[in-house]
C-alpha cells in the first residue's frame, strides 16, 4: 500500500482517543482521501488502555488488520508510557506526539531509545483553559494534523467547526471552547 499514512493512538477508555481517530478519518475524508478509523478494545471499561488506528491513502484501503509499523503515534495519556510500548514499530522517519507538560527532551529517555521526532503538547492544560475540564482529544487531534500536514490549518479549522456543529448540536455552548482548544494546540505543539 504505497502512499498510505498509518497512525496509532494510545489512550485510556473514556478519554476520546477513539473519537479523535474517527474525527481524523472525517477530516482526511473531506480532503478526498480514502480513510480508515477504528478502535481496538481490550476489556470494556473506563480507564483501560485502548488503541485506535487510522489509515489514510490516495487508493482504496483493503487491509483490515491493526497497525504495527505506524508513521505517527499519538499518546493521549502520558501514564501509558512504560506500561505500553508506545513506540513499538514506530518508523524512525515518523514522529510521536505526547500529551504532557514536559518537553520532548524530557520525554525522549522514556521512549526505549526511539530516535525519531518527538513532539509534546500540554493538552490537559489547554483543555482545562478552554473547556474547563480535561478532554485532551481535541487538542491532540489538532496536534497530529499540524505535525502530519494531512490538512492545512485554515481548512482544518473550517471542517472542524462544521463537524462540531453537527456533533454538539444539542450543546452548542461547548463549540467555541473546542475550537479554541484546536487553535491553541495547533500553535503550541512543540518539537
Amino acid at each position: 500500500m504505497k502512499d498510505t499514512i498509518e497512525i496509532r493512538w494510545h489512550g485510556r477508555g473514556g478519554q476520546g482517543a477513539k473519537t479523535a481517530a474517527l474525527l481524523l478519518a472525517d477530516v482526511a475524508f473531506k480532503t478526498g482521501k480514502y480513510v480508515q478509523g477504528f478502535p481496538e478494545y481490550g476489556p470494556e471499561r473506563m480507564g483501560a488502555p485502548i488503541t485506535a488506528y487510522n489509515r489514510i491513502s490516495s487508493f482504496p484501503i483493503r487491509v483490515h488488520s491493526n497497525i504495527y509499523t505506524p508513521k505517527y503515534v499519538v499518546v493521549v495519556d502520558e501514564s501509558l508510557i512504560g506500561p505500553v510500548d508506545v513506540t513499538a514499530g514506530l518508523k524512525e522517519d515518523g514522529a510521536i506526539i505526547v500529551n504532557t507538560p514536559e518537553s520532548p527532551d524530557e520525554i525522549r529517555p522514556l521512549l526505549n531509545g526511539y530516535s525519531g521526532k518527538i513532539y509534546t503538547l500540554d493538552a490537559k492544560e489547554i483543555s482545562i483553559r478552554t473547556l474547563g475540564a480535561n478532554f485532551p482529544n481535541s487538542p491532540m487531534l489538532a496536534a497530529i494534523v499540524a505535525v502530519s500536514g494531512i490538512m492545512e490549518e485554515h481548512a482544518f479549522m473550517k471542517e472542524m467547526e462544521t463537524s462540531y456543529h453537527h456533533k454538539f448540536a444539542k450543546k452548542p455552548e461547548v463549540i467555541e471552547g473546542n475550537m479554541n482548544a484546536l487553535k491553541l494546540a495547533f500553535k503550541e505543539v512543540t518539537k
Binding site: V35, F38, P39, R62, H64, S65, N66
Partner: protein, 393 residues
C-alpha cells in the same frame, strides 16, 4: 449519482434500514451490534421512519417478537451478536421452519468462554444448520449492499426464508471507511413493498402458524425447507444482477481475486479477505501465482461452484474463523473439501483456524500460508494438515 460518504459498518447497515423503513424491529442490545438498534431508534424518534421499535427483555424475546410480527405479515428485522444469538437458538429454527421472511443484522462476535467481545464467526457458524440464508461482508460497503438486497431474497415467493446479513464485529462494524451510498428513492424502488401471499392477520384466508407436525408430516416440511434453500441460489444471483444494474457493483456467491491462473489459493470469509488481497498483490509482484476465493454466500452453500473455481489450483488453504471442535478443522474447511472430493479434484486442501476472539490476521500471516502451500507442493514437505495461525509462542 452515488453518495460518497464515510461510515462505520454499523452506521452503513442502519442507513440501509432507514432507507427501507421496515415495519417492526424488536431488539435487545449486545456489543458490537448495539449501535444498530440505537441508530434505528434515533431515526424513529426523529420521525425519519415509522418502524415499530419493540424494546424487549432478551434476545429470546427479540426473535420471538420478530417471528410473531413476520407471521402477522410485517417486514421485520432485528440485530444481534454472539451470546445474543445463542439465546435466540430455538427461535432461529422456528423462524426458518415456519418459512418467515425476516432479516437479522448479525455483527459477528466470539461466543463465550472465555468471555470476549471481539470478532470471530463462531456465532453464525454455529447457526449454519438452522435453515437461515447467510451472507457475509468484507467491509462496510458490502454490509450495506447486502442489506439492501436482503429482503428481495428473503421475501421471494420461491424462498420465504429468514436471512442473516453478517459483518465482522469491530473490524468492520466499528471502522469508519469510505462508502458509496444509494439514493433513498432508488433503494425504496429496488426493495419494493412487502406483499405476503399468506399471513396471520388475513381474515379472508385463515391459517395456522407453528402447529404440531406428527411424524407422517414433519419430514416433508424439512424437505420443502431445503427446496427453498435450493431456490434461494437463483434468487440471490437474480437480485445481485438487478443490484449491479442499479449500482455497477457486482456480487455473486463468492468473489475470485487473481484466482484464474493461481497455483495456490486461500478460501476465507469476511474482512480478512481484504488483507489477503493485499498480500496477494505483493506476492504477485514477486512472481508467485497466488489467489483468493472469498465466500459471500455460505447458506445456501455454493459448493459445486467453489470446487470448480478451485480445481485448477495445486493447493488451497481453507481458513476458518471458528473452531468446529470435530478435532479436524472448521466448518468451511469441511464443506469445501466435500465438494472438491465430489468433483474428483486433484487439488490438495489444508485446513487452518485463524482470528478467534479478534486475534489479528495480517499480510504476514497470509504470506506464510501461501509459503507453506508452495513448500508442500514444490518440496514435498509435510506440513500439518490442520493448524492454527498466529498462536502465542
Amino acid at each position: 449519482m452515488a453518495i460518497r460518504e464515510r461510515l462505520s459498518g454499523n452506521e452503513a447497515v442502519a442507513y440501509a434500514i432507514r432507507q427501507i423503513n421496515p415495519d417492526v424491529m424488536p431488539a435487545f442490545p449486545i456489543t458490537p451490534s448495539t449501535e444498530i438498534p440505537q441508530y434505528v431508534s434515533t431515526f424513529i424518534a426523529n420521525g425519519e421512519i415509522d418502524t415499530e421499535f419493540i424494546p424487549v427483555e432478551s434476545e429470546h424475546s427479540a426473535m420471538s417478537a420478530a417471528i410473531g410480527a413476520s407471521a402477522a405479515g410485517c417486514r421485520v428485522l432485528t440485530a444481534t451478536s454472539s451470546c445474543g444469538m445463542a439465546l435466540m437458538w430455538e427461535e432461529l429454527y422456528v423462524a426458518a421452519s415456519n418459512r418467515l421472511p425476516l432479516a437479522l443484522a448479525l455483527v459477528n462476535r466470539a461466543l463465550s468462554g472465555p468471555i470476549n467481545i471481539n470478532c470471530d464467526h463462531s456465532d453464525s457458524m454455529g447457526a449454519r444448520d438452522t435453515g437461515w440464508i447467510q451472507i457475509y461482508a468484507e467491509n462496510n460497503q458490502e454490509a450495506y449492499d447486502n442489506f439492501v438486497q436482503a429482503y428481495r431474497i428473503s421475501e421471494h415467493k420461491d424462498v420465504r426464508l429468514p436471512i442473516m446479513i453478517c459483518q465482522d464485529g469491530f473490524i468492520t462494524s466499528h471502522a469508519v471507511e469510505n462508502i458509496e451510498l444509494i439514493e433513498d428513492e432508488k433503494v425504496k424502488a429496488f426493495v419494493g413493498e412487502y406483499e405476503p401471499e399468506q399471513y396471520l392477520l388475513n381474515p379472508q384466508m385463515p391459517m395456522a402458524v407453528g402447529p404440531y407436525a406428527t411424524s407422517p408430516f414433519y419430514m416433508e416440511t424439512k424437505m420443502l425447507q431445503n427446496e427453498a434453500m435450493i431456490h434461494a441460489r437463483k434468487v440471490i444471483l437474480d437480485v445481485a444482477a438487478d443490484f449491479k444494474e442499479m449500482t455497477g457493483r457486482s456480487y455473486g456467491f463468492f468473489e475470485s481475486y487473481r484466482l484464474e491462473d493461481a497455483d495456490y489459493a486461500i478460501v476465507m470469509i469476511g474482512s480478512a479477505a481484504g488483507t489477503t488481497k493485499e498480500a496477494i498483490d505483493e506476492l504477485r509482484e514477486a512472481g508467485k501465482k497466488v489467489g483468493l476465493l472469498k465466500i459471500r454466500v455460505f447458506r445456501p452453500f455454493p459448493g459445486e461452484e467453489i470446487a470448480n473455481a478451485l480445481k485448477h489450483t495445486k493447493a488451497v488453504a481453507i481458513l476458518d474463523r471458528s473452531e468446529g471442535f470435530r478435532a479436524g478443522g472448521g466448518p468451511l474447511s469441511a464443506e469445501v473439501k466435500e465438494h472438491l472430493y465430489d468433483i474428483h479434484a486433484s487439488t490438495r486442501a489444508v485446513s487452518y483456524i485463524y482470528g478467534l476472539g479478534g486475534r489479528d490476521y495480517t499480510t504476514v500471516e497470509a504470506k506464510e500460508v501461501y509459503r507453506q502451500l508452495e513448500d508442500m507442493i514444490e518440496n514435498g514437505t509435510n506440513i500439518p494438515q490442520y493448524q492454527y495461525i498466529g498462536l502465542r509462542k
